[in-house]
Chain length 432, copies 2
């Protein structure tokens, strides 16, 4: 099938899937779980083919590790399905109920978005996580994984679609895309795809955002800050700075710039430098920083750079407002943290920093769907509409306005013969 | 100021306005109300200049009526401000609270989107409604009204910004754009504008959507359907069909296509035709329709057309599924209604029709923010993310994840030494 046909089939399936009952969706999830375990040998064999090819292609060690899909990875995604099974069905929740007039009731009820296109990295477990999240939330999904994982992704998609078809989930709800040309084609299908979630390099995400009219949920940059206030506990400040930077440097929620109040810089910076040196982390500092510690100079470009590496830029600021101003100028609206013992200072920081995630006295690395307790995550959004920060099931939902009348026409209300009551109703949508 | 400077000032103001207290925002609303009444004479005089120019330019009668801004219109917008004052502050609401671990608490709290660009028609009352909605929701706003209303809009913007400055609302929160070049400039400012809400002709909205990377909330087409089921009450079906089509034809929530189950078409169509004839509404029918009533033929183009006029296309369908299929193929996801006495049929229709607003036994014309009881509306959205259908205050909000720790780092959780509790907390965000 062409990408156009796959997307049209997904649209058709999405309509039916939106109306699927909770029991049927959970039955499908259990069928997927069973099929993954039943087909474990074949899945692992297919993954072996990908791994051998990847070794021939001299793929780097960490990438090989992510590509590997063995029994323990299969057990891991099955645990994920177990937790998804326990979650309440997010579809069909009544967000509001209003009596407009006697016998005229309006309900705002959650529903799936429709067809979600997800482009993800080389981890095959992402295919299972994303497709099961979409299934639970009643969305059809088009998946494009890394080409390194082609054999593994193909068998996983096959196992999942066969398992769901057997319990009556409509064909076409999961479409697997395999080529770069498919991705380019997908970007043009705004009639059949409602949302694109790209995971990958910044350049790639920017390319998607610039080349499609379809809404994109995701983030290009993750330029996260930690601000050490004058009233910070020094040990806590060092720990949080180092963890935010070094716990895992290659990710979007890692700290890239450390901001330090000038009143505490003299005491804090030498201790921070010692701890960062121990992790072999390079420091690039502003002029005021370099008066206190011996580090390379930082320039304007450093404040704009997501290093994704053992490099940290450091700036000494005159006060809280200067820190907030720096973050709102150079930040990417992802995650920014303050370390301070002063509650009022923390509240001002959290009110005025314009980011999806604002933290007080903890590491930026907590900004993550699993750590937030959302179950799985489809991605992290720096968008300012729809969904922000780590996005789980909720970000895959929208709502319908459902109104039940008894023959009402607008004319008598427009003529002033009838009047709206607009009473809040304490009841849920009748369907389901 | 250039559009770039106006937008940058709005961004700066938005940061402060997001943190404004409820009392201050309400004080500002009261100040606007008072200033509008105090300056009524000057506002009406400015409007008189616009009206005289419009008469010279031979503006059509209905447009002149919309342009007019007299004492009763001023009283009307003041009533709107009164109702806005009574609404709870939508900002700072705790959507969820979770303990991640002892002393590590995560709150999802509503906040304004930031800077909203609104392009609206020639009604000057829209300027007051939109700006006060944005103020209450803590958003800065860039407004571009119809050029016919230039003098009226200028004095209204001036009166409003002076009134809000006097109570400490940051300068720049309301920017008035006056030229078409400003609109084109606005579309490029994705760093400083978070959302564009265009109200106007379909072509114009499509132009905006195609020419900006900024998210757009709105609708291009409003192709609404009424489906008369086999089990419909005939009188109700006729009333709803006529009201949906003729109560006000020039609007997006007016019916454009009537679908009729073949089992009831013979009885229903002659009565519907008589009622529509009485309103001088032209009917264009499919072949099956034309066997029953004598009307012009409809072709495929009719199913895709938003007439916004006294024209209705009619199609006889074989069953409910054919009706749903037609709507999902040709509809614009705006508002679609079913008339039936059968609840199960209605539920299936409302589950499977993919539209923002799905109605049972009432007119499509109810699809409106005022009628829904949302207070004012900034527009109607056919988007499938963020906000759908009539959009009031809620559509102008997003949320921030706010986390409070006591020095936690991620490393011990990653190493398995500490574990998340993920307990739901029954409390609200501490700030405010």
């Amino acid at each position: 099938m062409s990408i156009t046909e796959i997307a049209a089939a997904a649209r058709k399936a999405a309509i039916q899937l939106a109306a699927a009952k909770t029991e049927q969706k959970n039955e499908a999830l259990m069928a997927i779980r069973k099929a993954l375990l039943d087909n474990a040998d074949a899945i692992i064999a297919a993954n072996q083919v990908d791994l051998e090819q990847a070794e021939k292609d001299n793929l780097a060690g960490p990438l090989l590790k992510r590509l590997k899909f063995d029994q323990s990875k299969i057990d891991g995604v099955c645990e994920g399905i177990d937790s998804l099974l326990k979650l309440e069905d997010p579809v069909g929740q009544t967000l509001s109920a209003t009596e407009l007039d006697a016998g005229l009731e309006l309900y705002k009820v959650t529903c799936p978005i429709g067809v979600i296109g997800v482009i993800f990295e080389s981890r095959p477990d992402a295919l299972v996580q994303i497709s099961t999240l979409c299934l639970k939330s009643g969305n059809a999904v088009l998946l494009k994984g890394g080409s390194e994982a082609a054999q593994t992704n193909r068998i996983l998609a096959d196992v999942i679609t066969k398992a769901t078809a057997a319990v009556g989930i409509p064909d076409g709800w999961l479409g697997l895309l395999e080529t770069r040309a498919d991705v380019a084609g997908m970007l043009k299908l705004d009639d059949d795809i409602d949302l694109i979630i790209p995971r990958g390099s910044n350049e790639f995400v920017k390319y998607i955002m610039d080349n499609s009219n379809i809404p994109v949920l995701g983030h290009a940059d993750g330029i996260c800050h930690v601000y050490i206030d004058a009233e910070a506990d020094i040990d806590m400040a060092v720990n949080i700075s180092v963890d935010s930077k070094c716990q895992y440097v290659a990710v979007c929620n890692a700290e890239e710039t450390l901001l330090v109040h000038e009143a505490i810089a003299g005491e804090f910076l030498p201790k921070a430098k010692a701890a960062l040196d121990a992790k072999n982390c390079e420091i690039r500092g502003c002029e005021k920083t370099r008066v206190i510690i011996d580090v390379k100079p930082a320039d304007d470009q450093d404040w704009k750079t997501e290093y994704l590496d053992y490099i940290l830029s450091v700036k000494v600021v005159s006060d809280l407002n200067a820190a907030i101003e720096h973050i709102n100028t150079y930040g990417s609206g992802h995650t920014d943290a303050i370390v301070t013992a002063n509650k009022a200072t923390a509240m001002t920081f959290m009110d005025l920093v314009d980011a999806g995630d604002v933290f007080w006295n903890c590491s930026t690395r907590f900004s993550d769907g699993f750590r937030y307790g959302l179950g799985a995550e489809v991605g992290i959004s720096t968008n300012k509409i729809h969904a922000r920060g780590p996005v789980g099931l909720e970000g895959l939902l929208i709502y319908k306005w459902r109104m039940i009348g008894t023959g009402q026409t607008v004319e008598p209300y427009a003529a002033g013969d009838k009047h709206f009551t607009h009473q809040k109703l304490d009841k849920d949508w009748i369907g389901g």
